[in-house]
């Protein structure tokens, strides 16, 4: 039975993927928490007196994040006010149960909790969306809507920043996925530990677990006896991310430091100046930051509301084409001029940009 590498004399309980060290329970807790504290201070994720919303799903990552932030905030006097923010996508049998776990977190960690639903924000639950779009592209809707929902919730709660539970494995997975898709705009920004600050791009987001391995998060939750909810999203088996995830886990088995190397590569990559990247603007319909005239959420929502659920799937040039065609049809028929929120109105005002 190996002894703790920290020479404390105790029995080791875990082999660290990052370093290969064998640590006992207490030394592991200490290393785990200290490294997150180091990340937070080194990257200046927070400032004193900030209100921070923890994006809480009830899963392992956000549960560990809430626990550790509460602990570090007290231990190192960050001076933060911590709140929990949860999104209810409206997926029967998935989110219902995990929201109960979030409520338990609220009680255990004594933090206020705000739950926002897709139904309230967009008028559609994921169950209803899947009924319309099927199970092939539903994750696109869910992901786009969740991102905006967190921002809207954060604005409602008047917080200074949102902390998410993305871990090292998640980020490496996203780097891989963006490489596989050739999505240079996302590849460039997906490793940033703080996003959305300074550019008028909504409320800043931070990832305190960016350098924390998934294995250690699960082990930490287990040995700390933290209650979390785990399930498979009932719609997820078809998600593209699953392929990147399997590839990554296979690589990680050969050598866990591959995770850090992929993140390092993603951080160091510079996109050629000759590559044209979309510049960010604000959605003409809702004002949310967007690379297109209409943000993805508005396009997807418009598609759903018009019975054209596939509108926002695929290339944005196709959306322009469909909406432009509709615009001319509508100019002739005048059918939706009266509709208050019809996107044609916005498009008419900006028709030059559409060409």
């Amino acid at each position: 039975m190996p002894k703790c590498s920290a020479k404390c004399g105790n029995k080791a309980i875990l082999k660290r993927p990052k370093t290969g060290d064998a640590l006992c329970k207490e030394c592991f807790f200490d290393a785990f928490e200290t490294e997150i504290h180091y990340t937070i201070t080194k990257c200046t994720l927070f400032k004193p007196n900030m209100t921070v919303a923890i994006a809480a799903s009830g899963g392992k990552d956000s549960t560990v994040l809430a626990y550790v932030l509460k602990l570090l905030n007290k231990k190192y006097n960050y001076g933060l006010k911590l709140v929990l923010l949860s999104i209810d996508e409206g997926i029967t049998g998935y989110r219902d149960d995990s929201l109960n776990t979030v409520k338990q977190n609220r009680d255990d960690y004594e933090m206020p909790l705000k739950i926002l639903s897709y139904k309230d924000l967009y008028g559609w639950t994921m169950d209803e969306i899947v009924e319309k779009v099927g199970r092939k592209n539903n994750c696109t809707f869910c992901g786009v809507f969740r991102r905006q929902a967190l921002d809207r919730g954060a604005a409602l709660l008047k917080v200074d920043c949102i902390a998410t539970g993305h871990n090292a494995d998640d980020i490496a997975e996203t780097v891989l996925m963006n490489v596989l898709r050739g999505d240079l705009a996302r590849l460039k920004r997906c490793t940033a530990i703080i996003t959305g600050n300074g550019s008028g791009d909504g409320i800043p987001r931070v990832k305190p677990l960016k350098y924390t391995f998934e294995k250690e998060i699960v082990m930490y939750a287990y040995f700390r006896k933290l209650l979390y909810f785990s399930t498979e999203c009932v719609f997820a088996p078809n998600a593209y991310r699953g392929h990147a995830r399997m590839l990554l886990k296979d690589l990680e088995k050969i050598d866990p430091t591959i995770i850090m190397n992929i993140i390092y590569s993603g951080e160091s990559i510079r996109v050629s100046e000759n590559t044209s990247l979309p510049s960010l603007t604000n959605c003409t319909n809702c004002g949310y930051v967007s690379s297109q005239q209409l943000c993805k959420a508005c396009v997807l929502l418009e598609g759903l509301n018009r019975g054209l659920p596939r509108l926002g799937i695929g290339k944005s040039s196709r959306v322009k084409q469909i909406l432009t065609e509709e615009k001319y049809n509508n100019l002739n028929s005048n059918s939706c001029v009266e509709a208050k929120n019809c996107l044609c109105k916005n498009l008419k005002d900006n028709s030059v940009n559409l060409k």
Binding site: A12, L14, K15, S57, V218, F229, T231, A236, K249
Partner: protein, 100 residues
């Protein structure tokens, strides 16, 4: 000679592959060689795992992303699949692949 009694546990979503059972006490039949975790995995595949084997197993081991603890110690410190099972060992499989 007696059979070998072992407590097998599932967590982190792995229990979803086993009728939502989190704890199973099993008796491994007597055999010539010693029981290792590699043998246990085959036994689990034949006796407990009814569907979607690829979600739990890969090759002669567990699927990458499933953590294994023997009596609350990481199996990576205990020779992984080659660990020789002792009577009344508690062997826990935790999935990291399930979300929240």
């Amino acid at each position: 000679m007696n059979s070998l009694q072992v407590n097998v546990e599932f967590g982190g979503g792995a229990e979803l592959l086993f009728d939502n059972k989190k704890t199973v006490t099993i008796s491994l039949p007597e055999k010539k060689e010693k029981w290792t975790i590699e043998h246990l995995l085959i036994w689990i595949k034949d006796n407990l795992l009814k569907e979607r084997q690829e979600m739990f197993l890969q090759g002669n081991s567990v699927r990458p992303g499933i953590l294994v603890l023997v009596n609350d110690t990481d199996w990576e410190l205990m020779n992984t699949i080659n660990y020789i099972i002792q009577p009344n060992d508690r062997i826990l499989f935790i999935s990291t692949l399930h979300g929240g």
